[in-house]
């Protein structure tokens, strides 16, 4: 469908005409393209009517509708029309500018125009997808197109700015996501700062025994990676370090980090652990975090056997030297490297990086929040993470699956979806629990020959080899009971035996199953401080608290903040292969950014019209980037374009209207406002 409107001379009034030459400039000739987006727009918006109305607007030379404007032929249309009809402004009414603004600016440029003679109209996300009534959705689309047509008259040719990108990358979090991303970047020849809050890298994966569905040993595949990180010349590893502040912008972030004192000099300690043996505590007294509290450690300890760096640390809250100042300091005596320093202090450091990868991971659901499963009440109710440690050969029992009293269990229940898929806790599916529950079922059966009951709501096994693994576990004789566990309680006279009341929806009955060990397959949730971290890095969380990606499909590792990428479970629950893949993608994005060496910035900066500025200085304190200076000699403000980020706060505040923001000039915004209101 095609509407021609002569040569840009719409009906006029008041002596001025859009489309007429102004100051000798060539007449405005606008091409308007209305996209059907298949039926995504066309189903709700009458695109033909929108096109027809657009064709009647002053200055519009041609208005077309097309099935898919973003397709090659769609873009080609724009290019050809620019060449053949001499268009000098382009308006495309389609989806969100966040999706295809770049595409159509490119098509505009391909036709030989400055790409900023383009304006996009969002009639999909803002009209066809949010309204049902075809009439009102169409009216709205017409208004939005009119606004854009009026606005685009005033567009000016602009140049993007290039800013250099620092080649260093910061990776936040040393789990498998952060490790993978750091190694990819470092192998690509970029310098990486890998920072980890805990004393060792490895994250949750280091705590696992086997990985599903292949049952390869987690440590066997992870520790070589950890060692690579330690030895890589391009990686600066900083453990016990947290980010406290992020300044700057893409290409030039200034990240302030805080190193917590370890009280051990990392460069001197060789991990011989003689200090631990020598500690005045003869045996462990404090819960070992790595063993999920199932074993005890001393105040001076190695985070875990495979820790990287292989360096001990002292917990100042537990060490007698810190509480009383009167310890015999047997550890210091034992250390032949003189690596212990009780006076180590917190240290602040600033890192200059071009890009940041967030790999801050997840935490498991606190099973105490679902008290009907009895966790924290009955000793024989465990979380899956605890059982991972029990199964693990380097764990508290050397890989023996035994109850707290040392007995082997004879019947074990595994409850799926603890904390997940429940409106009272977390509504989402944590994605990994079905598979790790099946894995634990297999390992428990293998090691104890106990009867194993898996209580599941739905068995979710999408993934390579997952369904096959499920079939295998089922064929091993694990009892798979589909239904929710209603309650768990301990037999009054039994020695710790638990009774599980569960609905068996396949058998159509309620069952009571006695077990002597119950494993809760706790789900994954955002870390307790995700909100704080998000603010520090100026990124967004989705409603459920996971970090939000820029686009769920097309920009899954980007964030709304340029140069900040996401890897692993901080963005949502994932298994290890997915995490590694996403870490690779994030590293790839960062490499693409810093590999280019520069970044094109939107030219939406502000400038002062010198002759209009009265030098009142209203704007100066408003600028968050200190980009405005006062020229005392001339008594006027000046904006440093390099520092300006284009927020426009000074433009709105200038009492004399002497600051102009490119792409968002007052005139352009007024035209848009009038344009949307100009309907009857």
């Amino acid at each position: 469908m095609l509407r021609e409107n002569g040569f840009g001379s719409g009906p006029t009034s008041g002596g001025k005409t859009n489309g007429a030459p102004v100051n000798g400039d060539p007449p405005i000739r606008i091409g308007v393209y209305v996209c059907h987006c298949g039926t995504n727009i066309a189903r709700t918006v009458d695109v033909e009517r929108v096109t027809e109305k657009a064709g009647e607007l002053p200055g519009v030379t041609i208005a077309r509708d097309y099935k898919y404007m973003c397709s090659d032929p769609g873009q080609e249309l724009i290019k050809e029309d620019i060449e053949e009809l001499g268009l000098n402004r382009i308006v495309v009414a389609s989806c969100s500018p966040n999706l295809h603004e770049g595409t159509f600016r490119g098509a505009t440029a391909a036709g030989g125009l400055n790409p900023f003679f383009f304006q996009m109209v969002n009639i999909r996300e803002h009209a066809s997808w949010v309204h049902e009534d075809r009439e009102s959705a169409t009216d709205k689309a017409i208004d939005l197109v009119r606004a854009a047509v009026r606005r685009v008259h005033h567009h000016k040719a602009l140049e993007t700015r290039r800013v250099p990108i620092k080649p260093e990358v910061l990776v936040v979090g040393g789990g498998i996501a952060g490790i993978s991303a750091a190694l990819t970047l470092a192998d690509g020849g970029k310098h990486v700062y890998l920072i980890e809050r805990e004393a060792s890298i490895g994250g949750h994966m280091a705590q696992f025994d086997k990985t599903f569905p292949t049952l390869d040993c987690a440590a066997c595949i992870l520790t070589p990676k950890m060692t690579q990180v330690r030895n890589h010349p391009n990686i600066t590893l900083m453990t016990m370090t947290e980010v406290v502040k992020v300044d700057g912008f893409v290409g030039s972030y200034e990240v302030t980090v805080k190193h917590r004192p370890r009280f051990i000099d990392v460069s001197l300690c060789v991990g011989c652990q003689q200090c631990i043996d020598a500690c005045v505590y003869k045996r462990g007294k404090f819960e070992d975090e790595f063993d999920a509290g199932l074993s005890m450690r001393k105040p001076i300890y190695l985070p875990n056997a495979q820790a990287v760096p292989q360096v001990v640390l002292i917990d100042p809250e537990q060490c007698i030297q810190f509480s009383s100042g009167k310890c015999k300091q047997t550890c210091v005596e034992a250390c032949d490297r003189d690596a212990i320093f009780f006076d180590q202090e917190e240290r602040i450091e600033t890192l200059d990086v071009g890009a940041i990868i967030m790999a801050t991971g997840f935490q498991t659901f606190d099973a105490r929040r679902s008290p009907h499963y009895g966790y924290g009440i009955y000793p024989n109710v465990y979380t899956a993470l605890e059982v991972e440690r029990l199964v693990n050969a380097s764990g508290p029992t050397g890989g023996e699956i035994v109850l707290r009293d040392g007995e082997k269990p004879t019947a074990v229940g595994i409850v799926h979806c603890v904390g997940s898929r429940n409106q009272k806790s977390n509504p989402w599916c944590s994605k990994v629990c079905c598979m790790y529950s099946l894995k634990l079922a297999h390992l428990i059966k293998e090691k104890t020959d106990a009867e194993v009951y898996n209580f599941y709501i739905d068995m979710r096994t999408p993934g390579k080899g997952f369904e096959e693994f499920y079939q295998r576990v089922a064929s091993e004789g694990t009892h798979l009971i589909r239904g929710k566990v209603a309650s768990v309680y301990q037999q009054a006279d039994g020695d710790g035996e638990l009774l599980v009341d569960v609905e068996d929806t396949l058998a159509g009955m309620v069952r009571r199953i006695p077990v002597d060990m119950l494993v809760l397959a706790v789900g994954l949730e955002p870390r307790y401080d995700a909100e704080e971290v998000r603010r520090t890095f100026n990124i967004t969380c989705s409603g459920d608290g996971w970090f939000m990606e820029r686009h769920p499909k097309l920009a899954p590792v980007d964030t709304f903040t340029d140069g900040v990428y996401l890897a692993g479970c901080c963005q949502g629950p994932k298994d290890i292969p997915e995490t590694v893949a996403q870490a690779g993608a994030a590293a790839g994005q960062a490499l693409a950014l810093i590999g280019r060496g520069y970044m094109e910035l939107e030219p939406n900066t502000a400038q002062v019209i010198a002759e209009d500025c009265s030098g009142c200085k209203t704007c100066i304190p408003l600028c968050p980037y200190q980009a405005i200076l006062h020229d005392d000699a001339e008594n006027r403000a000046e904006i440093n374009e390099v520092l300006c980020k284009g927020c426009g706060v000074c433009v709105a505040a200038c009492p004399s209207g002497s600051i102009v923001q490119n792409l968002f000039e007052d005139t352009e915004i007024y035209e848009e406002i009038e344009g949307v209101l100009a309907y009857a």
Binding site: G10, S13, K16, T17, N18, L57, P58, G59, S96, N98, N122, R124, E125, H126, A127, W129, V130, H131, E132, D133, S136, A137, D139, R146, A147, H153, H154, R535, T540, C541, G543, M548, P552, F560, T561, N604, L622, P624, G646, C647, G648, V649, V651, A652, A653, Q661, F664, D666, T667, I669, Y670, E671, I673, E674, G675, V676, L677, A678, Y679, A680
Partner: protein
């Protein structure tokens, strides 16, 4: 200050009468949304296929701090029945603190519009983050309902004259001033 583009003089005006009749009154709401939070929320509402009142027309700015009070006055003068300003939550501004500037202006502006006889409900400021599509939906629906209940904006001169006064090239905000120019230059289609 505003270079006027006169194109809308020929905008169809046949429905003006039906606009003002109470039962089919459909409020015109101009929404000034920041690029990083509220515009994104509106995009998310789209991809989530939420349904909300079609009365809202979004004009995008980079930051709510860019919103000149005159944008709001201009919208009212040109026939908006309501203006919705959307920005990032306090502390979340993409530009550090532009939303606080928006809040300051909003507070003052609300007093100004009230003194002009415009009901306070017609101007609303909401912090809506990129993930709060549902909140955007609620706000849009609420505002459409509130303004539908209030009826069309009654300025001291009939709104039709403003609406007809497109292209009057007036120095904007005060209804009185706009009214004078409108009286002179009412364009009859």
């Amino acid at each position: 200050m505003l270079e006027q583009a006169d194109s809308t003089v020929q905008a169809p005006q046949a429905d003006l009468t039906s606009q003002t009749s109470a039962e089919d009154f459909e409020p015109r709401i101009v929404a000034l949304f920041c690029n990083w939070c509220t515009y994104m929320a509106a995009d998310l509402a789209g991809t989530s296929r939420m349904r909300y009142a079609p009365n809202v027309r979004v004009v995008r700015v980079m930051c709510s701090g860019r919103i000149d009070p005159q944008f709001v006055m201009h919208a009212f003068a040109r026939g908006a029945d309501g203006v919705l300003i959307g920005g990032c939550h306090p502390g979340d501004c993409h530009y550090q603190e532009g939303n606080y500037k928006a809040l300051r202006r909003f507070r003052l502006l609300r007093r100004v519009i009230e003194s002009l006889g415009i009901e306070r409900e017609r101007l609303r400021l909401e912090w809506i983050s990129a993930s709060e599509a549902d909140r955007l939906r609620k706000v849009a629906d609420e505002m459409a309902a509130d303004i539908r209940a209030l009826g069309p904006l009654q300025l001291s001169i009939p709104a039709e004259e403003f609406r007809n006064a497109e292209g009057a090239g007036a120095e904007i905000p005060s209804p009185e001033i706009a009214g004078e120019t409108a009286a002179k230059e009412v364009a009859v289609p």
